[in-house]
């Protein structure tokens, strides 16, 4: 809440006696609150518009057909899908980008029609869901980019999973460490300290990144492990992608991680990362989709799709890639809403996937999208 301090002259009459008796705080707070409303209209007006992001998410709730909540990571593409879908069909879908954890909680409580998460729900979370079994539907692919600030290095650095793990563990502390140099022959690396920047807020981006480190580094697995918030051994915390990239952009010698869409739109340098087959791969829409293709063998018809695709097989697969999921109850309590939801998701696996790349999200492999669209028919309680 914002308080603007303004005191009118009339407040001052007899002020010394009043103020020296007890209620200094109380009295002042009262006079402040009087002017708050006025101040909000004038000087504080700016803050109103800055919150339009969250205000937009709850707008026009009266005419909304479906409500969802969850991950912030896919928020831009979901917003685009929902608005495109509303234009084409008139079905209005409202999405609150409140974070995956809150999305899972709201779905479990049944306060939303669908949830969204960057990490799959745990078995305990699935058991706690009040509306019965929850199905995971991958909606689109995202990736995490390793970005850094080395002004004199002009070609993209190449890093391996072990090196990234040891940098974020604080075991590699200099940019000219022989192990980094070995991967980057021909690049002059400065004898500078490495400063690690990570996310301070719990986030799906952190989940994907630490999931990857857990997969490629035994020391990381034994240490911080994976999660939306972990206990970072070294470094600074920045709030949001903009907090991390702000620190990295300004400070020479820093390394951090941000989501692909953010890195591309802000033209951040990104490292090429060696994947499971030993190829150094740049993060692109194609290399991320390739990661999902590499993981197709785990995604048979009876899969529950709670799979991680970090460090996936395939020569062109970018290794720090991940699904983001829509969470849907298998038994829809409200057939009308269920039908709308299934129809939307069928659209999402068709036309929706084609528009993903325009916002720097990678579309699912087409075979997988078809398979998932077929899986929609296993949702119960929906009129056929």
């Amino acid at each position: 809440m914002r308080i603007c301090v303004t005191v009118t002259d009339s407040d001052l009459q007899g002020a010394p006696s009043l103020i020296r008796s007890l209620p200094v705080n109380a009295r002042f707070a009262a006079s402040l609150s009087i002017v708050t409303s006025l101040a909000v209209l004038t000087a504080c007006g700016g803050s109103e518009s800055s919150t339009s992001d969250s205000a937009g998410a709850v707008a026009s709730s009266s005419s909304v057909d479906l409500n969802g909540a969850g991950a912030t990571f896919p928020y831009p593409i979901y917003l685009k899908w929902f608005s495109n879908y509303a234009e084409q069909t008139g079905v209005k879908i409202n999405y609150g980008s409140v974070g995956s954890g809150a999305g899972i909680r709201q779905l479990s409580e049944g306060t939303v029609d669908f949830g969204a998460s960057d990490g799959p729900m745990s078995d305990e979370e699935l058991a706690a869901a009040k509306g019965g079994p929850v199905m995971h539907f991958p909606s689109v692919l995202g990736a995490v980019v390793i970005t850094y600030n080395l002004p004199d290095v002009t070609v993209p650095l190449t890093l391996t999973g072990e090196i990234i793990g040891d940098i974020f563990l604080g075991k590699i502390t200099k940019w000219n460490d022989p192990r980094i140099a070995a991967e980057n022959s021909g690049v002059t690396l400065p004898a500078q300290d490495i400063l690690v920047v990570h996310r301070s807020d719990g986030s799906g981006t952190t989940y994907i990144f630490t999931d990857y480190l857990t997969a490629v580094s035994a020391a990381w697995k034994a240490g911080p492990g994976k999660g939306k918030s972990v206990s970072w051994p070294v470094g600074l915390g920045g709030k949001g992608n903009e907090g991390v990239s702000g620190s990295v952009k300004q400070t020479p010698g820093t390394i951090g991680y941000v989501e692909l869409a953010y890195a591309k739109q802000n033209r951040l340098p990104s490292a090429r990362v060696k994947n499971a087959s030993g190829a150094a791969v740049e993060p692109t829409i194609e290399s991320i989709t390739a990661a999902a293709e590499g993981a197709m063998s785990q995604l048979g018809k009876d899969s529950d799709y709670r799979v991680s695709i970090v460090n996936a097989a395939g020569a062109s697969a970018y290794p720090i890639s991940s699904f983001t999921w829509l969470l849907v109850y298998q038994n829809q309590a409200d057939g009308v809403k269920g039908k709308k939801l299934v129809d939307f998701m069928r659209w999402m696996y068709g036309a929706g996937q084609q528009s993903a790349a325009s916002l720097d999200y990678a579309p699912l492999p087409s075979a997988l999208a078809t398979q998932l669209a077929d899986r929609l028919s296993t949702i119960q309680g929906v009129p056929k």
């Binding site: 707070a29 000087a43 807020d201």
Partner: protein, 323 residues
């Protein structure tokens, strides 16, 4: 002092005198009574809700929640000592930085400034309080941090040779306890200066004239007659600032570095209770994690109440000993 105490005592008895004189008064009295009672009730309700939410964490960790310095979500280990330390240190440091400056502004505006300058400057200082927290945070990231990193911190550490002391040691990242304290100082300055200014301007003219008549210089008049007269009001302003500083979230989160580690150095990143809640609440997935964050909220509430009670006691004491 007697002249001051009198109205405070006569207030309630005046009210008693007109009590029951008409139905309108009675209704008015009931309505205002309900308003007044609703505030403590609301506060109690909030405190109760927070404590119920925090109970799983509080009952498991007990006192070690306050003293433990490990905050590891993955391992389910939660100790809030670094956050408590960061909250208190950043706020106190902010007050130390802001108070002299705010008093300088207030004294200039009330004693020296010509009338044509007084209103605009007062307005501009007050306007500082109208800037949204997130804007302070962004300004901090793009303006304050580079200055700290490239000029202020190297200057303190090497030029002044303070780098050998634990307070100013370590690498200069920018994001630090110092950065948080500076942004907080700027944010609480208008609160302290506005209250101080109004209190100083309300010091009776006779007080000033008497001091001058006794041969005091202008500086002596301000130091010995005006400021002591307004002292408890000024402390009230400082408490208001402290309250803001303890609870401030957004700007601090963007600048403090968010590391749950106890460090004596002001150059080192820190964490505050409000920041950890803002950072982790939305994505808290385990029930225990949520409870630990609620417990942080309870601790923040406790720290704020404690500090305010202490300050209230201080105001009372200064008021009595003042003259």
């Amino acid at each position: 002092m007697e002249g001051v105490a009198a109205p405070a005592v006569s207030g309630p008895s005046d009210a008693a005198g007109i009590e029951g004189s008409s139905t309108g008064d009675r209704i008015y009295r009931v309505v205002t009574f309900l308003c007044a009672v609703s505030i403590p009730l609301l506060l109690g309700f909030i405190a109760l809700e927070i404590i119920i939410g925090a109970w799983p964490a509080l009952s498991k960790f007990g006192f070690s929640f306050l003293t433990g310095s490990t905050w590891d979500v993955g391992a389910g280990e939660f100790g809030a000592a670094p956050m408590i330390y960061g909250t208190v240190v950043s706020s106190v440091l902010a007050l130390l930085l802001a108070t002299p400056f705010a008093l300088g502004v207030a004294i200039f505006l009330s004693e020296f400034a010509p009338p044509w300058l007084r209103q605009p400057v007062a307005f501009l200082v007050d306007l500082l309080a109208a800037i949204p927290s997130v804007v302070y945070g962004l300004w901090g990231i793009f303006v304050l941090l580079p200055i700290l990193r490239e000029s202020v911190m190297p200057f303190l550490a090497t030029t002044l040779g303070l780098g050998a002391t634990p307070l100013f040691s370590g690498p200069a990242y920018g994001n630090s306890m110092l950065a948080a304290a500076i942004i907080l100082a700027i944010m609480v300055l208008p609160y302290i200066s506005a209250v101080s200014r109004e209190v100083l301007m309300a010091v009776p003219r006779a007080q000033r004239e008497a001091a001058l008549a006794l041969g005091a210089t202008r500086w002596e008049m301000i130091r010995d007659a005006v400021v002591p007269y307004a002292r408890s009001g000024i402390i009230g302003g400082i408490i208001l600032g402290l309250g803001r500083a303890l609870g401030e979230t957004m700007a601090v989160t963007m600048l403090i570095g968010n590391r749950a580690e106890l460090s004596a150095s002001l150059f080192a990143p820190g964490y505050t209770l409000a920041s950890v809640i803002a950072n982790e609440f939305a994505e808290a997935s385990t029930e225990f994690h949520t409870a630990a964050l609620m417990a942080c909220g309870a601790v923040l509430l406790g720290v704020t109440l404690l500090v305010n009670m202490l300050a209230r006691w201080l105001v009372g004491r200064v008021g009595r000993d003042g003259r």
